[in-house]
Symmetry: D3
Subunit: 68 residues, 6 copies
């Protein structure tokens, strides 16, 4: 079931910080670390844990650009 | 001037598609391509062109996770 | 491959309006119509057309509430 | 005072989970449940409680599509 | 009908640029100009025009901070 | 390093409410108060505190309009 979101980056979870309603998840993607904040409920339903292979998914309208 | 957005990925612009109000920009980041949709006005003010080194910037609350 | 986005509403495409960079897609979900703006590139790669069954996907942090 | 957001779905609150800064609210809309994360401050100022009739409001640029 | 979005800034439309699917609207708010991209359909249904008094509405999870 | 986000409003922090994963920051901008929810980690790394001068940054696709 393909999704319209154009950014789908494969990586590995390196850290999960649990909050009451949300969790902060860090994912190593190549040489970068992508950080994501999702609901605690989703993290638990997906059974996310350190070492899991996941995709970080971002809609292209959410991506800004900064010139060096 | 550091920005709170936790995802700031350095890359190089490989394509810009101009629309009337928005533009679709593709940025190579490591082995991935990040796609961004920003206003045409910003693209012109920043003078974005193919080959430019830029950062793709994403707020962590905009990043979803998909389990493999 | 389950996705963390908590809102995934099944429906049928009833209209697609093509722009240069983006498209405006209307999806009937029960008695409601959900409207989505995605890249033209995604619409073409997914081969979206009127009558297609799709899911409208929304991250919960993007949903506001209005009291009646 | 009409709002530009194209998705405004009427429903009834079936659950509120309170966090320190944010709350996770579930709203029954037809046969679906829409989940929203808003600030605790807004939930308290609006006096949201189980059984309240609300609209779930989503900007169309925040809606992705997934093909079945 | 109060909305959970915490940022609702009153201003006056100073410019509208029409695209095929979206429009780019500039709103003077105090000494600042707020720029918004909404669907052309919403702009037409609301009958937006230069000089109109409007509120620019932003969910707090969409606001980043940059330190000077 | 200029950023594509078109809304960058200078102001002064008047309140920070700490949650476990996120923080709720209020910034006075002219006669308005802008509220932002960012990660606790960013707030700590930026060393944000009451009285700091900051910019509130918002991508134009995140701004809705409401007609009075």
């Amino acid at each position: 079931m393909p999704l319209s979101a154009r950014n789908q980056l494969s990586g590995k979870i390196i850290e999960i910080q649990y909050g009451d309603v949300l969790v902060h998840v860090s994912v190593r993607v190549g040489k970068n670390v992508i950080e994501s904040v999702i609901t605690r409920r989703s993290a638990e339903e997906l059974g996310l844990k350190k070492g899991d292979v996941v995709k970080a998914v971002v809609k292209s309208t959410e991506v800004m650009l900064q010139k060096d």
